[in-house]
Subunit: 261 residues, 2 copies
DNA sequence: TTCGCTTAAATGTACGCACATTTAAGCTAA
DNA sequence: TTAGCTTAAATGTGCGTACATTTAAGCGAA
């Protein structure tokens, strides 16, 4: 075993150096088989167990590893998606609850370049992107038009995937090991363009949601997504309280709310 | 200073007991002035500083307190309970962040009966309701039309309140002691009616959000609310991660998102 | 009064030790 | 072979110490 030396000049704390080095090694796949135990790290880095535990504690709260008493820490299989969150999952599970079958028509799945999107993914303008465009159905009627860009460097394994029935995140997790652990959404009320309206079979007067999502996995931008959802077929529902915070719920309470109100 | 004793029989770890006791005391408002330092807690609970730090570390990752080197820990400015949550508070604070002055024009404030609304508040059809209708401005332009019904039995003290600058929840808390602790929202994308469009000075093609909120305080229905928000002036923004869950954030990230997308 | 320095106090980091509790491996006996 | 026990190993908890670093209070001189 190689002994690794940390910088003890005082520039940065030992446990932080250790934590970052472990993240680096973990991402390189070095620990896919087994994560080293505390005492092994004590020997390897020549620091106290206290320092090792401080570094591991950070990794644990970040959801990168899980640890239990009596057994060695393990790399977290899923970086803790306690509940798939966000408006898009809410959309998916609302349909699920309604009992309607859902499927997608893949309108595009290719590699292309787009400087504007690349910049939003913190990439250079010429970076190749994987582009996926789907028309999502609930029952026989279209529900949403979904466009998503991912860095090709991370996601090119998805090029030959079949997205008519599987979700992007599931495929992403299985094929690349990436799991979204952070993100943000901007949700707007819009009137669809004529083209979108035609694709979605929108009634002439129906408004729509525009959902823009940026997702990251372990601090790396992974997706930039734009979804247009028919407003006459979908409502965002949420519950909130002091205990649970703000939580999107799968189904609108009553369809009556869709009427005049 | 009273010395507090923890259960050392081994049922639960000391730091967890300490952490829970501190949460309890913190919620009771005991630490609103100053949070005790590590050494003070060492004396008070008769545990080692290591144990105290373990408990405080948990409080810190939970976001209840903030700590810096050399100064005592302080209660986090956002006291854990994002009390005013939901899309309507997000609306309010978005305007606040933008720097635009906001005020309301009260279009109605009276007692009336409405069987449909009363039923939604779990009241008899003939029960009197306090009705408040406001046109909310951000700057010189209307932003939202806000209609809310409350049981008159609970809220009649609000009849002579001035709602041009104060919020409903603030007035409700001050005058009746009621604080919303639970609620649900249904958010839809709609096209405003002609009347709403006129009131809101909507551009002809602008969509809007329809937000229906039911709020309860201590299991009693307190409000039934319907708000129409101009879609060209407002976006719902949210962040989500494994740690913080789904949280609405005050401001959209870039106004550029409002354009084509 | 006010500016600047000194000093005390508080948290951050890092080391050590001991024991409890749980897991997993190994061994023994039927 | 297998069931059950024993034992080693690993993490969890808790205590102690020491020093570094930063903040804030106190003090003194201009």
């Amino acid at each position: 075993m190689t002994v690794r030396r940390l910088d003890r000049s005082g520039g940065q704390s030992l446990w932080k150096q250790l934590q970052e080095d472990l993240v680096r090694r973990l991402r390189s796949g070095e620990f896919d088989d087994a994560f080293p135990g505390e005492l092994a790290l004590v020997d390897e880095y020549a620091v106290s167990r206290h320092t090792v535990r401080q570094a591991l504690g950070q990794l644990r709260t970040d959801g990168l590893i899980v640890a239990e008493r009596g057994r060695q820490p393990r790399v977290a299989t899923t970086p803790e998606i306690r509940q798939p969150m966000g408006a898009l999952y809410s959309l998916f599970s609302s349909v699920e609850e309604s009992g309607l079958p859902q499927h997608s028509v893949v309108r595009a799945l290719d590699i292309r370049a787009d400087g504007v999107i690349a910049a939003r993914l913190n990439l250079e303008g010429s970076s190749p992107l994987l582009y996926l465009e789907r028309l999502r159905y609930a029952g026989d009627e279209p529900l949403a038009l979904d466009r998503v860009w991912l860095p090709a460097a991370l996601a090119d394994a998805l090029l030959d995937a079949d997205f008519t029935h599987t979700s992007l995140y599931n495929e992403l997790s299985v094929r690349t090991g990436l799991n979204l652990d952070h993100g943000r959404e901007d949700i707007r009320a819009i009137n669809p363009t004529a083209a979108e309206r035609a694709l979605l079979h929108c009634p002439p007067e129906a408004a729509a949601f525009s959902i823009i999502r940026q997702g990251t996995a372990q601090n790396r931008p992974v997706e930039w997504r734009h979804t247009v959802v028919r407003g006459d077929r979908f409502a965002l529902s949420a519950e909130f309280s002091a205990n649970i915070g703000y939580r999107l719920t799968p189904a609108p309470r009553t369809t009556a709310l869709a009427q005049g109100w």
